[in-house]
Each structure stands twice: as structure tokens, then as C-alpha cells.
Amino acid sequence: MKELVIISGKGGTGKTSVVAAFASLAEKKVLCDADVDAADLHLITDPEIKQHHDFEAGHTAVINKEKCTECGLCRDLCRWNAISSDFVVDSIECEGCGVCHYFCPEEAIAFPVNTCGEWFISETRFGPMAHARLGIAEENSGKLVTLIRQEGKKLAEERHLDLLLTDGPPGVGCPVIASLGGATAVLIVAEPTVSGKHDMERVVELADFFRIPAMLCVNKFDINPDKGRMIEAFAEDRKIFVAGRIPFDPAFTKSMVMGKNIIEFNSSSEGSKAVRIIWENAKQRLGI
């Protein structure tokens, strides 16, 4: 089985719009939304949820006031200043390291497991989909990304499907790192702006760091063709396959408003044509 992860570094370059369009073009695949922090793919795929699971990960310290003698050891040991002077744990600041729980001489600190999100197995008009929602202000996004990709892979194996199409998170930190391990390849969706170029370079470096083969496409190419060509040149210089260019096409926004991908909305639009070329190129590279 192959996995293509779509990432971008910078947010809002069009990752999800590209994945949603690929959903109409790829055949035997499972969709996976690994942008668990701000998942949007389901707004297009309209999943019918078949399985719903709580996501439990990490712990938070809770001080039992009746047992606490206010000795202050926990406050001395806590490196996050998460315990107030009146001995209440700030659950937002608590890192879940358990040091206070371990050392409390009165055993006054409980350390319950957090439920910090949900994950789903669904059916969509494009095929099965694994997706998730991290609770607001929660930690452990990387673990949820890893879990949802594993569930996506399981689903693909069960159904004898040969591709996992994963919508990745923005950035280069914990969730993105979790979305890369074991992937067949990444497709970087860049935009031809100074920010887009800066962020693309960092995400290329990240893919390099984890030795994941990368492909690249530039979205909204005509907004700044010079910058677009500079991004492509950078990619080629780094032996990254340039899979195509997508023009600025308002049909992307229009299709999103209607809950459709661009292929469904207008399969002969310039954006659709461009995405089709990129998909054919990616398919060839993936060997499917």
C-alpha cells in the first residue's frame, strides 16, 4: 500500500482543496484527514460516520485538597508553573509529566487520563475515510495524527485498497512530523509568495530530514509567476519533482461553498485541468 501525504508548510495554500479534488480522481483509496487541529476535508466529503471513538492520550494532574498539606514540593518541581499558590492545577499549563503526582508525599495528586479528542471511520461518496477532531486547547495532536493514519492504513488493508490519501497539517512541528513517518511520498502545495516560498523551503528541509521523497505543485501560480518559477527552480535544485501548476481559479472557493470539490463543480475549469495533470504525475511517481 502507498501513502501520499499532502503538506504545505504555510497554511491556506490549498492542501485540502487539492486532496478533495484527488478524491474524485484516485480510484482505490482511503481518505485520511490528518490536520486534526483544524480538519476541513469532511466539509467537502460529507462523511457518514460509521464508527466514533474517543481519543485518550496523556494525563493531567489534579490535586485533592483534602489530602494536600500545602508543603509546596509540587510547585518547586513543576517546570510549567502549572500549580497556583493555592494549590490548583491549571489544566492548560499542565504538561502531563506526572512529576508532581510521583513525588507528592501525601499522595494527594491524582493523574487521570485525558480524553482529548475523537476519531471517526466514515463512508463518503469517494470511498472510506478516517478522520479526527482534537479537542480545543488540547495537546497530543501528534499522537492523534499517528493514530488516524494507522486507522486509515488498516481500513485500506481490510478493503484491499492500495492508496492512503492523507491531508496533512500546516507547519513543521509535532503534527507534521507525525504525518510523515512511513509515508511513500509527500506532495507540497506551495503558493507563489514570499511567505509561501519561505515556508516551502522549511517543509522541504523537513521532508529531507525524514528522507521522504517529495513532489511539489504551485497553486495560484499566476498571482506571481516570477515567484512561482523561483519555487520550482528551488525544488528542481533539490531533486524534487515538480508535478504541475495550478492557476488562481475562483472555482475553488465557489465549489467549496457548495460542498463540492472543483472536479465535481466544474470539471473543465482551469483549476480542474491543472489538478488532473498533477494527479496523473503523482500517480506515476507513486507507481499506482
Binding site: I136, G171, G173, V194, H198, T253
Partner: protein
């Protein structure tokens, strides 16, 4: 006063709003770019960097001569960052959250702390504007400790504008916590609305007043406006889609560079924020 500019969804225009606001105001302002995974504000502000510092976090180092392989360090570690394998103890520095638990628990005092690099902080100026940003080392997973370090440069005698990362999880919380106001920037699309709702949820958890800027306000639908009315989130500014703005942005230019009349609008935006935040 601290204003944190956040969005939920990426690419809605946080940096555009934060940078234009920062250069439009004519008093002491500092801009802290806390999107340390992908900081962009410097590309527009182009500050003269005056200081660079490497930020590190403590991680354990084991003296195997003293270690008795008792395994207490592995037992206390919640992050699987130190394990006993056969006749040795292996710390995994990249997984370590720097809680100090293993160092503290070791009965033989065989564990001391060395450091792992999180990234760098660069500080500089553009005219009167003070600029600070963090740049997470590529390959480093944990951004919140670096964000907190950037925020240590907050000064009480200036207006602090924070450019936050996208999303709603720990890095965003680290960038919004203790702010006096959160300025949410969104686009009027289903994706923008969905992620705006998440961001509003995060702001509510923290109990901070907020207001809304709608970017590319004429591309999409009415969903965001209807939601803002229902939730009584004040709409403070609308920026229509303008190819001139998009092209200027692509070159690293700010709105107020190409359309100086927008300076007054950003000043107004600030006035309205002050009215709400008090």
C-alpha cells in the same frame, strides 16, 4: 496591552493584519511573531536584526558508571523518552518534554541535564517598531517552549502584537494566553467558518475578549457574518479581495505600502479594539 492575532485556519491573513496594524500605529509597538514553525512577519517588516540567541531545553544525560539499571527513570517518564535496554539506558532527546522527572528520581544521581536546541530567537527593529520572532529548528517537534521564550520579550510599556500560529492546539494557546484581546482573522468560506468556530472555542476557554476581521470578504458566502452576529462577535474590519493586495503580498509588500489610505483603517481597528478590551 497584548493583542494576539489568530485564526484557526491557516492562510487567512493573520500576518497581513498583524504587520499592517503594527506599522500603522504611531507609538511604541512591538511585534512578536509566535508562528515559530513558519514565521513570515519578518518578510514584510524586514527588520534590521540586532540580536540572535539559541534557545535550548534541558534533556537527560546518563552516567552509566553510576547507573544501576533500576529503571525508575523509565517508569516516571510519561513520554517514553528514556528506556532501559539490556545493560544500558537510552535517552531519546527528541521525545523529551524536559520535565526533569528522571533527573530528580534517579537514586544514584546518575542523570544530569544537557540541552537540545529548540530553535533561535531573532530580535531587531524597523524604525520605531520592535520586532521579535522565533524560528523552530527543522526536525524539532515542540514549539510551545520556544513560543513562551519569544513571549518573555513582552514589554509592559508598549503595545504588544502577537502573530499566532494556525490551529487551536497547544502552540495557539501558548500564543493567546494572557492576551488582553484576540483578533480573529478569517475568510468567508465554509473552511474559514469551521475553523473560526474552533478558534472562538479556544478564546472562550481562555476567557479573552475577541473581535473579527474578514479577509477576502467578497469571496465566499455569508456564513461567517451570520455566525458572528449570532455569537455577538464584533466585526471590526473587512478586507475585500483585491488582486493588487494579493500581488503586493506575494512580493512581500504590505497593504499600507501599496494603499497608504489603509493606515487610517488600521488605526481605527486599533481604536475599536481598545474600546472593547478597555
Amino acid at each position: 496591552m497584548i493583542i494576539s492575532v489568530a485564526s484557526g485556519k491557516g492562510g487567512t491573513g493573520k500576518t497581513t493584519v498583524a504587520t499592517n496594524l503594527a506599522v500603522s500605529l504611531e507609538f511604541a509597538v512591538q511585534l512578536l511573531d509566535c508562528d515559530v514553525e513558519e514565521p513570515n512577519a519578518h518578510l514584510f517588516i524586514q527588520p534590521k536584526i540586532e540580536d540572535v540567541e539559541v534557545v535550548t531545553t534541558p534533556v537527560p544525560e546518563v552516567d552509566l558508571k553510576k547507573c544501576t539499571l533500576c529503571g525508575k527513570c523509565a517508569e516516571i517518564c510519561q513520554f517514553n523518552a528514556i528506556v532501559v535496554i539490556g545493560e544500558t539506558v537510552l535517552p531519546f532527546h527528541e521525545m523529551c518534554h524536559s520535565c526533569g522527572g528522571c533527573t530528580h528520581v534517579c537514586p544514584e544521581k546518575a542523570i544530569t541535564e544537557t540541552t537540545r536546541e529548540l530553535g533561535i530567537i531573532e530580535r531587531g527593529r524597523r524604525n520605531g517598531l520592535e520586532f521579535v520572532h522565533g524560528l523552530l529548528r527543522v526536525g524539532e517537534a515542540m514549539s510551545p517552549p520556544l513560543i513562551r521564550k519569544v513571549r518573555e520579550y513582552t514589554r509592559s510599556d508598549a503595545l504588544t502584537i502577537i502573530d499566532a500560529p494556525p490551529g487551536t492546539s497547544c502552540p495557539v494557546i501558548a500564543s493567546m494566553k494572557d492576551a488582553d484581546f484576540v483578533l480573529l482573522v478569517t475568510e468567508p468560506t465554509p473552511f474559514g467558518l469551521h475553523d473560526l468556530k474552533l478558534a472562538v472555542g479556544a478564546v472562550k476557554v481562555l476567557g479573552i475578549p475577541c473581535g473579527l476581521v474578514i479577509n477576502r470578504s467578497d469571496m465566499g458566502d455569508d456564513g461567517v457574518k451570520i455566525y458572528a452576529e449570532e455569537e455577538e462577535i464584533p466585526l471590526l474590519m473587512e478586507i475585500p479581495f483585491d488582486r493588487l493586495i494579493a500581488e503586493a503580498y506575494s512580493r512581500g509588500e504590505m497593504i499600507v505600502d501599496v494603499m497608504p489610505e489603509w493606515k487610517e483603517r488600521f488605526k481605527d481597528l486599533y481604536r475599536r479594539i481598545v474600546e472593547i478590551a478597555g
